[in-house]
Symmetry: C2
Subunit: 206 residues, 2 copies
């Protein structure tokens, strides 16, 4: 049962929650610094300093630098996968579902963990992590291709080269990871919506 009043003595699951919260804070601080300065330029000491703790504490919660980065990109890819699953379950034409996915995709890429997925070069990770990372990204690409193929099948999308179209769309939507600033004036939803309109509609006047 819950204590009547807040006590300075934590129960065992409060302690577990505390630990999780700290772990989360470390991860958040890490991904912010990785994105801001680049993985190599951001030392674990910098990350620790940004939280007012010391380097070994990071090792305590997350392990070595490779594991920290891998967890960051995994978070990002998970968000993208969720978006793909949600889009697949939507009603409407294949094009409708694809557009919905692309908008979510783009917004995730402008967020901390999504940005990290794009800004992280494979070479930054160890051989094993890099292979797992590529596999995860491959899943997202497969989902994008599935959505494209569904649209082509129901006639809402032209019969394009699926592989290349997928790369083209992803490339365009990934780019904000490099130029978009969270503190800027353009809101992620607006950017996402406009980009998707440009990509699906083309440049020609109607």
């Amino acid at each position: 049962m819950a204590p009547m009043q807040t006590s300075p003595f934590r129960t065992s699951d409060q302690r577990k929650a505390d630990r999780e919260e700290k772990r989360e804070a470390v991860l958040r601080a890490a991904v912010r610094l990785f994105n801001e300065r680049g993985f190599h330029a951001a030392s674990l000491e910098d990350v620790a300093a940004s939280l007012g703790i010391s380097k070994p504490t990071i090792y305590h919660y997350l392990g070595n630098k490779d594991q920290v980065l891998f967890e960051c990109v995994t978070r990002g890819v998970d968000q993208l996968r969720d978006a793909a699953d949600a889009a697949k379950a939507l009603p409407g034409t294949g094009l409708d579902r694809l557009r919905s996915f692309l908008r979510c995709y783009s917004e995730i890429i402008m967020d901390d963990f999504g940005r990290c997925v794009i800004r992280t070069a494979d070479e930054a990770l160890t051989h094993e992590s890099s292979a797992r990372f590529r596999a995860l990204k491959r899943e997202i690409d497969d989902a994008m291709r599935e959505l494209l193929e569904a649209g082509i099948a129901d006639g809402s999308i032209a019969p394009l080269d699926v592989r290349l179209t997928s790369f083209t769309l992803a490339g365009a939507l990934n780019w904000p990871a490099r130029w978009h600033r969270a503190d800027g004036k353009s809101r992620p939803e607006d950017v996402a919506a406009k980009m998707v309109d440009i990509l699906t509609g083309g440049l020609a006047p109607r």
Copy 2:
């Protein structure tokens, strides 16, 4: 006057040409390794080893690592600027000129120096070089916007948000710097042509 037969003794401008050739070889080796392993992972010693020379020779021809990288990206940006100038001088509608530029742009990005422009994060360079690099990239973006505006003015392109459209197109065409392999089966010209068709035409069936 030119020597009657090839002699082991070089004239002074032969020597100058030799030097230029070596400088060029070093730069080429550097950009290849930077692209393959990433700037940080590629040490100057690796670059030297790939040519069978020693590290100080690189300093002799190109200066410190920052200068080497800056020269690589400058080469790439120069190619892009030339392509923009050439496209502007072409006949046809604004859309025609833009499409021509986009195809060239894309092919350059699949080449050594162009790839390096995209794969090089600003943080890799010193403060000064980074600022100059951003200025150079800004020129290319301006050229892209000019071409877009010309197309909008003559009615061959819909009245879109120029800034965002420019980013969208560039993002899509930059992405092959990350996935395209020079030794693969898809030829850069084909990839470029198809991507430009997708981008200008959109996804809808006609």
